[in-house]
């Protein structure tokens, strides 16, 4: 395997609030290979978004504090990089697209002006060259009249179109990594299918790596090569989609899969996960899934499990593995 383009080691990011320390990300490690899609699955409060935004410097540092770890992008530790270095990387080598395309675009500027911005800023293109590249990018994401689109304002577009514009904007600089944070959650399912197709096609063309954050297991099954399952700031399981969907070794992943309604079968019953997601400011050192886990042991309450490798490239963090 070639060297990973992004390697995060034991990242810890905590929010210091009046109510206490919220351990939003508590010891997450993962790697992303060039050209692959890593899906990060988790519910709200799992830390899946904070994890990515923290090492990119997109969260103000108070109240966030990086309590440890490394985030190596092509060998450079982003956590120790200077703000100027980070500014050169963001939007250029590492691009992000977000859930709400309406708020990601400036409503007062035409699409064209916003699209050429990263090119002019990072790639030293002239306005004319940038305009051409941007138009081509719009065509690549399936917008039928790129020239007209360049001159239009964001409010003239529907949600799906705006998200295509965001993708175009993220890809004009030919980044090495694209981080997509719930990009299709706010879209209709037919539009979502279109956007996911575009992302897959563009990824195949450019060879970039994609980190795809979502809570939707169906989407992850369709787009990811490998999957990370996060819960309450911790990593529970990681492996290929084959591993995680068919041979999961973690009670949470299994429970999540069982409790997700499917469109291809009629399910007589849906075993729900009981209880509530934990309060992140009141975590003990044990497994955060302890109270809701149907198979917990006493040790789970006090100690977070070590890593176990049921198969090569498939790891799981659960005390149940110990007995085996």
């Amino acid at each position: 395997m070639s060297a990973p383009i992004l390697e995060v080691k034991d990242l810890k990011a905590h929010f210091h609030t009046r109510r206490g320390i919220v351990k939003a990300v508590d010891g997450i490690s993962f790697q992303v290979q060039p050209g692959e899609t890593l899906g990060i699955v988790g519910e709200s409060g799992s830390g899946k978004s904070v994890c990515q935004m923290s090492y990119l410097g997109l969260i103000p540092q108070p109240p966030l504090r990086i309590a440890g770890g490394e985030a190596l992008f092509k060998g450079t530790d982003l956590l120790k990089a200077r703000p100027s270095t980070m500014r050169q990387l963001r939007g250029n080598r590492i691009s992000m697209i977000f859930q709400e395309p309406m708020t990601s675009l400036n409503p007062y500027l035409r699409i064209g002006s916003q699209l050429i911005e990263p090119l002019v800023l990072h790639c030293q293109k002239s306005k004319k060259e940038a305009w051409k590249i941007a138009s081509e990018a719009l065509a690549a994401v399936g917008i039928s009249d790129p020239e007209a689109a360049m001159r239009a304002y964001p409010h003239e577009f529907s949600g799906g179109m705006r998200q295509r514009v965001m993708i175009a904007m993220a890809l004009t600089t030919k980044p090495d990594v694209l981080i997509a944070d719930e990009p299709t959650t706010a879209l209709d399912v037919t539009v979502q299918a279109q956007i996911l197709e575009i992302l897959k096609k563009l990824q195949a063309q450019t060879g970039m790596a994609v980190i795809f954050i979502t809570h939707d297991l169906g989407v992850v099954a369709g787009i990811a090569d490998r999957v990370l399952v996060m819960y309450a700031g911790r990593l529970f399981e990681e492996g290929t989609t084959e591993h995680v969907f068919y041979r999961s070794h973690h009670p949470y992943t299994q429970a999540l899969l069982r409790s997700t309604p499917r469109i291809d079968v009629t399910q007589g019953s849906l075993p729900a996960i009981g209880g509530l997601p934990p309060d992140l400011s009141r975590l003990t050192g044990g497994c955060p899934f302890y109270e809701r886990c149907g198979q917990h042991k006493d040790v789970c309450a006090n100690q977070f499990p070590k890593v176990y490798w049921p198969e090569p490239n498939h790891r799981s963090y659960c005390h149940l593995e110990e007995a085996v």
Partner: protein
């Protein structure tokens, strides 16, 4: 459900779904913490607001106890001791007619505070009812009601008050009402804005779909949820009214001599500024301190009641 009325009692106990049980319930305390309690907790931590609050409490107490505290009577003249600077017998000095300034400041405070509070209450009652009804009904009625408000807004209040004073004579209660009536307009707009944004919230729709009548919706749902901005604006109305009254008195339209409000005292003080500056400094300082306190309290309340800050 069966038709015997009390069908929420199942004939055989229905098995509660195990997955519905909330294991962390034991962690819940008994009584709830309302949003008001939460807001007051935050307010208590705001030192400026609390400072202002205590000053106002102190001032109110002093004003209530004035007849017992004041060393002299407010119209007691002593022509041998006119324009005396502050001394042990006259803590704030005397004015041009030998009246004790301290006494007059105390009595003046009573008038000013009374005007402020009563006029504000008038403005709140009229404004809240008018604004909430207008906002709730909506449509053309709302349009008409608000255009009426716009028209009143355009009238300079001072003329209104002058006309009222001239027509009905100079009566202190009239003064309160007149000043209150100038302030209700903004209050009505604020409340209407709140009500309109609340009207479409789902808890109001839920009440409608249950058959809750309109007046209940307005008084039980809309007004309590609008109180935040109302309270904040109230603490800003009071200083506004006190200043208006001071202005009127300055012009000679407010309370009549020998009764004095801070406004008249300041007006007199300005005239005697070069000879007896204390006549201006004391009432002006007290007026300013009161206004500052009200403003700090208002700011503190606004921050405390901001729902975004509640979920920390």
């Amino acid at each position: 459900m069966s038709s015997d009325g009390i069908s929420l009692y199942p004939p055989t106990p229905a098995p509660a779904p195990a997955s519905a049980m909330v294991p962390s319930e034991d962690a819940m305390e008994e009584a709830g913490v309302s949003l008001w309690q939460d807001a007051f907790r935050r307010l208590f931590k705001n030192r400026l607001a609390m400072g202002g609050f205590f000053f106002l409490v102190f001032l109110t107490l002093v004003c209530i106890l004035t007849p017992w505290i004041a060393p002299y009577s407010f119209d007691q003249q002593n022509l041998q001791y006119t324009l005396q600077p502050p001394s042990w017998t006259h803590w704030m000095g005397t004015d041009v007619l030998g009246r004790d300034l301290f006494t007059r400041v105390l009595y003046g405070g009573r008038i000013s505070m009374l005007v402020g509070i009563l006029a504000s209450i008038v403005s709140v009652i009229v404004g809240v009812v008018y604004g909430s009804v207008s906002g709730f009904i909506g449509g053309r009625t709302d349009n008409l009601m608000m255009r009426f408000v716009d028209i009143l807004y355009a009238l300079p209040f001072i003329f209104l008050v002058i006309i009222l004073m001239v027509y009905f004579g100079r009566n202190i209660f009239l003064l309160f009402i007149a000043l209150g009536l100038t302030q209700w307009l903004t209050m009505a707009r604020i409340v209407r804005g709140q009500v309109i944004s609340l009207k479409h919230k789902e808890f109001v729709q839920a009440a409608e779909s249950m058959g809750v009548p309109a007046h209940s919706i307005i008084f039980r749902h809309l007004i309590p949820n609008s109180l935040g901005p109302v309270i904040v604006y109230l603490t800003l109305t009071v200083p506004s009214v006190i200043l208006d009254e001071a202005f009127l008195s300055f012009l000679g339209l407010g309370v009549q001599a020998p009764m004095a409000s801070w406004g008249t005292l300041i007006s007199n003080g300005v005239e005697a500024m070069e000879v007896a500056p204390w006549l201006l400094i004391f009432p002006a300082t007290l007026l300013s301190l009161s206004l500052f306190s009200l403003n700090f309290l208002g700011d503190g309340l606004r921050d405390a009641l901001d729902p975004k800050g509640a979920r920390d």
